[in-house]
């Protein structure tokens, strides 16, 4: 029976070749895996696997280079866009992306992020905003919401002493070097499809040398938030989305 079913013409969905078969180390229900898949499918569909060079951050996705089956470099914490600049400047014809968390991109790497975008480096920045430092065990991130608990804001983020969450994506959208800036999520099939469309557009713009494209993905961190995957997605919808509304922030004129 099953032998009859497994025919190319019956195939409706398969894992993209741009993802390796390595078992991902991400926690159950974490958005990183889905975000990886959307980006990998885009690289696959555009047929650019052999022309793509990725940059992994320091954060939970530090091992992204085991999962994306493209040439990749591991950057120091926060320096991914500088590393990507180095790559893109010597290989202007390749597709270059960074994949970074909020601590990496919007705290320690803020200068590198802003300046790469301001120069309009022709790269794609995939920005996973989960409002927390996942890898190091749930400390406060630049994007942690006011009042949100973390291991370094155990009574909730007190903006008077700990500062305010940074909407770096909105800042980047104001820079002349950025071309396409959008905020997405991957927590439902519909949202994941939208995020994929955004990633695809961004990669296509890179081919046209239009400037920096940034796709923020507001994501969950069940472990750091100390919730089940389902609870975390609900919490994200109710708390993260009002502060970080989904949708395009800067679209090509």
């Amino acid at each position: 029976m099953s032998e009859n079913l497994i025919k190319p013409e019956n195939l409706v969905y398969k894992k993209t070749n741009v993802l390796t078969d390595k078992v991902m180390h991400y926690c159950p229900g974490c958005g990183h895996g889905t975000a990886h898949r959307m980006l990998a499918e885009v690289i696959d569909e555009l047929g650019i696997q052999e022309q793509t060079i990725g940059v992994a951050p320091v954060g939970c996705s530090v091992l992204a280079y085991y999962y994306f089956d493209v040439d990749m470099q591991e950057a120091a914490h926060g320096r991914a866009t500088a590393v990507a600049t180095g790559i893109k400047r010597v290989f202007p014809e390749k597709y270059v992306f960074t994949y970074q968390g909020d601590g990496d991109l919007a705290a320690i790497g803020t200068a590198e992020t802003i300046h790469a975008c301001n120069r309009g480096e022709n790269i794609l920045i995939v920005f996973i905003n989960n409002g927390i430092y996942g890898m190091t065990g749930g400390q406060m991130a630049p994007t942690t919401l006011p009042g949100m608990k973390s291991s370094t804001s155990p009574r909730g983020r007190d903006v008077a002493t700990m500062g305010n969450p940074l909407k770096i994506t909105e800042i980047i959208a104001t820079l002349p070097g950025s071309y396409y800036v959008t905020r997405q999520s991957v927590h439902t099939p519909g949202n994941a499809r939208k995020a994929k469309r955004a990633l695809k557009k961004a990669m296509e713009y890179q081919k046209e040398n239009k400037g920096t494209c940034l796709v923020e993905i507001v994501s969950n961190c069940p472990s750091g938030w100390k919730m089940t995957p389902v609870e975390s997605n609900k919490w994200m919808e109710e708390n993260m989305f009002p502060f970080y509304p989904l949708g395009d922030i800067k679209v090509p004129q």
């Binding site: 052999e50 992994a56 091992l63 040439d71 500088a82 180095g86």
Partner: protein
């Protein structure tokens, strides 16, 4: 075509960078080395050879751009001066861990802190002992002339790619700023090689290339360290460079590197004129340090004076090499003060001959 020119050290270095077929230079202005990026921007090497020159937002960004381009197998360079080199230490450690080739130039100024823009040699420790985290080494070349500055760019790429290692050209504000006659080597082509370790895009049927310094398993991390240490031993065997002057009959020795060696040579000549038999050992590669020549000469002399524009850094390596076989003293001026030949000769008489 080879060409004779009268050039400032920093400008000659920049011209050598273009001629050595550099693919990309990333830098950030700081005195006394800003002429390097200024010269490059002025020359517009993108038109001459296709070389990329980019002013980064910081030295941190610049060294990470170097990482990215070097990991693509390109000839990549950055330059700075002491405070900026401190900022590059994180990147240098990552470059060491990922085993990438590049050239980093330090036109040293006096420190600590913001210090002075005047010349110094106080970054010796930082250059030869590490500076960033982890067990790693830079190949460190110390030019004493504008000519050597130029030649070390070419040599620097050869060594960097041979060993997949950072080569640091450790110069100072004197050599960077002074004008000298220099013979420039001919324009070399930019290489367009695909190295198997470089990220150039995944080849069909082959594994993707990963450039990383992360090895989560201790056994793997130790393996990397064994590999690095084996490489450093090889470098110590094959890449020692030094110069000896009038050491054959010497009863005493001076040792100094870079610009300080030139001043010390003058002191040596003055001493010889007074009948003091003194020679000079000038380490050119500071790492690997020329241990053997000191082992060889130490039993033959009554004492060695190291002369440095710092509070006594290379003297530690000299003492290790000499291993108690003769007296080793240090004479230094720092904070941007350049010692005179007279005071160096005086120090020899006081600390070594009289002491």
């Amino acid at each position: 075509m080879k060409e004779l020119r009268l050039m400032k050290g920093n400008e000659a270095l920049a011209e050598a960078a273009i001629r050595a077929g550099t693919d990309a230079y990333f830098g950030y202005p700081i005195t006394p080395q800003s002429e390097i990026i200024e010269y490059l921007m002025h020359e517009n090497p993108y038109e001459r050879t296709g070389m990329v020159v980019l002013q980064a937002e910081s030295e941190v960004a610049a060294i990470n751009m170097v990482y990215g381009a070097a990991a693509c197998g390109k000839r990549t360079m950055t330059s700075s001066s002491s405070p900026g080199i401190s900022l590059k230490q994180e990147g240098l450690s990552y470059i060491a861990g990922a085993e990438l080739p590049c050239i980093v130039v330090n036109i040293v100024r006096g420190g600590p802190g913001l210090g002075t823009i005047q010349p110094s040699q106080s970054d010796y420790f930082q250059a030869v002992k590490g500076g960033g985290h982890g067990d790693y080494k830079l190949i460190v070349l110390a030019p004493a002339t504008v000519q050597e500055t130029v030649d070390f760019v070419k040599l620097g790429y050869e060594l960097a790619f041979k060993y997949r290692n950072t080569v640091m050209i450790l110069s100072d504000g004197i050599i960077g700023q002074m004008m000298e006659k220099v013979e420039l080597f001919e324009q070399m082509p930019r290489e367009n090689k695909d190295y198997e370790w470089a990220t150039v895009g995944k080849k069909p049927g082959k594994d993707s290339v990963i450039v990383t310094s992360l090895y989560l398993k201790s056994e793997d991390q130790e393996k990397l360290n064994f590999r690095l240490q084996a490489k450093y031993r090889e470098i110590e065997k094959a890449e020692v460079r030094f110069e000896t002057i009038m050491t054959e009959d010497a009863e005493y020795l001076f040792t100094a590197f870079g610009s300080c060696a030139r001043i010390t040579r003058k002191a040596m000549e003055m001493a010889r004129a007074k009948g003091i038999k003194v020679g000079l050992v000038r380490p050119i590669s500071l790492y690997p340090f020329p241990v053997k020549i000191f082992e060889e000469l130490a039993p033959k002399v009554k004492g060695i004076l190291t002369v440095e524009m710092n509070a006594g850094q290379m003297v530690e390596d000299v003492r290790l090499a000499v291993n108690g076989k003769t007296k080793v003293e240090h004479y230094g001026r720092f904070g941007g003060i350049i010692p005179s030949p007279e005071e160096i000769l005086n120090a020899l008489e006081q600390k070594i001959i009289g002491g």
